[in-house]
Every structure is written in C-alpha cells, then in structure tokens.
C-alpha cells in the first residue's frame, strides 16, 4: 500500500476520523491509502481524494499538498517534509479560522503574442514571451467592482494574471463565507455579460505556496 498525502494539519482531531493521520514532527498529515497497483491517474481515485479533501476542510483549515505526493511510511514523510514544518505550523496558527476563495474570469483583451522579428536576441524574445503569459487584466469597471464587493471582505488577497485569464485568490474568514457568496451573486447581477467563476472554500493553497512566502 502507498499513502497519498492530502494535507498538513494542526492536530490529529482535524484529520480523524475522516481519514488516516500520520504525525510529521508536531503536525499531522492526512493520507489516503491505496493499493500499489492503482495508478494515481485513476479518475475515481481523484474524485475520492477530492471528496476526502472537502470533508477535511469542513473540520478545520489545513495546508493543501498538491496531488501526486505519496509515501510508504512516516519516516519517508518526515524526511521529505524536513525543514518545512515550522513554517507550516505558523501558517496553520495564523490562518486557523480562514479558508481560500477564488474568482476566475477571462481577460478583457488578450495581449498580442510577441513577434520574434521584433527582438534582436533570442533571450529578449523569450523574456517577452514569458512576460506576455502574465499580462492579462480584467475590464477596469469589473475589477473595481470586485475590489469593492469581494476584496474588501477578504483578510488577504492575490491577483494572479495568466495569458488569457485573471484569478483572484482570497483569504476569507469562515464566518464571512456567506457574505462573500452573496457579494458574488450581486456582482453576477450587476455584470450579467461578464462570465466569472467564484469558487470555494478551499484549503490553504495559494497562501501556503513557497513562492508566495
């Protein structure tokens, strides 16, 4: 058997009895045991894990581990998580009563792709290509409304700009979830022709990623 790691939690009660908890220093990892022969790409397995993840979030906020990480035992888990648990513990304490919500919307206008002929060097062209992949923005009016209705209720937020879409990741108090959803509905009524997806709650995903620390 192998154990797929779902998240890192503050205490054992945050994991059990939903699924199995494995101690990792002074925290606990939630894991889902599967047969060695079962591929990680099994669609039903993905759905099982997603369901467990949702039930875990109902109990308490946790740090999400990206799907695909599996271990054989507690020793392997401890060695692969070495040096990270102090930061995780601090995050779990700081955001104990918060969850993430996300809003995704298509960009107002897609920026033109850089043309190789406009650049003297390949390096400059590659830099431009990279930059162009993160320049999408929303219609200013819609973005302003999002700031007024959603962002003001969040305790933290990050705008993530891709090539053709923009995502807003928000940290939200659990007690404010209903207000955020109501604000999303008001936004949908006000901007009926602007498609967007407001989803959540999610565990700590964006706000626990290493590159955002």
């Amino acid at each position: 058997m192998k154990s797929i790691v779902i998240g890192i939690h503050f205490q054992r009660d945050d994991v059990e009895p939903v699924t199995t908890a494995i101690p990792v220093e002074n925290l606990f990892a939630s894991v889902h045991a599967v047969d060695d022969d079962r591929p990680l790409a099994d669609r039903d397995l993905l759905i099982e894990i997603a369901a467990v993840r949702a039930r875990l979030l109902d109990r308490a906020t946790f740090i999400a581990i990206r799907y695909g990480f599996s271990v054989r035992d507690a020793n392997e888990l401890a060695s692969k998580c070495a040096g990270r648990t102090a930061k995780w513990r601090a995050l779990l304490v700081e955001h104990r009563d918060e969850v993430e919500m996300t809003l995704k919307a298509p960009a107002a206008a897609r920026p033109p792709r850089p043309d190789r002929r406009d650049f003297e060097s390949g390096a400059a062209y590659l830099r431009a290509l990279h930059d162009a992949a993160h320049t999408a923005d929303l219609d200013p009016k819609f973005r302003g409304a999002v700031e007024r209705t959603l962002v003001r209720r969040a305790t933290g937020h990050r705008w993530i700009r891709e090539a053709a879409s923009v995502e807003l990741a928000m940290l939200v108090r659990r007690s404010d979830l209903a207000a955020i959803r109501d604000a999303g509905e008001q936004l949908r009524a006000e901007f009926a022709s602007t498609p967007f997806l407001l989803s959540g709650p999610w565990p700590l995903e964006v706000f626990s990623a290493d590159d955002h620390q």
Binding site: I47, A50, A64, R84, W88, L197, S199, W202, A209
Partner: protein, 58 residues
C-alpha cells in the same frame, strides 16, 4: 443546467487538487504546461511511472 453546474464544480475541484498547494518532491511533472498538458501528463506520465515501479519490483 444543474448538470452543467455540477460538471463545472467537479472540474474546478480537480483543478485545485491537481494544480494548487504545496509541491513536495516527486510530483512536479503533472503541474507543467496548460490544462491539456496537465491531464495528458497525468494520464501518460503517471501511468508510466506506476508501470515502471511495478516492473522494478518484479
């Protein structure tokens, strides 16, 4: 309409499962590329890894 909403919810849930959270050694491959590559990678790369592991144990 309800089915469409359910499908979007499932896709969004899987997107978060596959593309968000802390990355720990050994699974970065599935986060490379856009959505199509992600799923393609998941089906092919992970299946191959599993097959290789089984072969290695024999």
């Amino acid at each position: 309409m309800a089915e469409e909403k359910l499908e979007i919810t499932l896709l969004e849930t899987l997107d978060h499962l596959l593309d968000r959270g802390v990355v720990i050694a050994g699974e970065a491959v599935i986060s490379i590329g856009d959505v199509d590559l992600l799923y393609l990678g998941l089906n092919i790369v992970l299946a191959n890894v599993e097959a290789m592991q089984r072969t290695g144990r024999k």
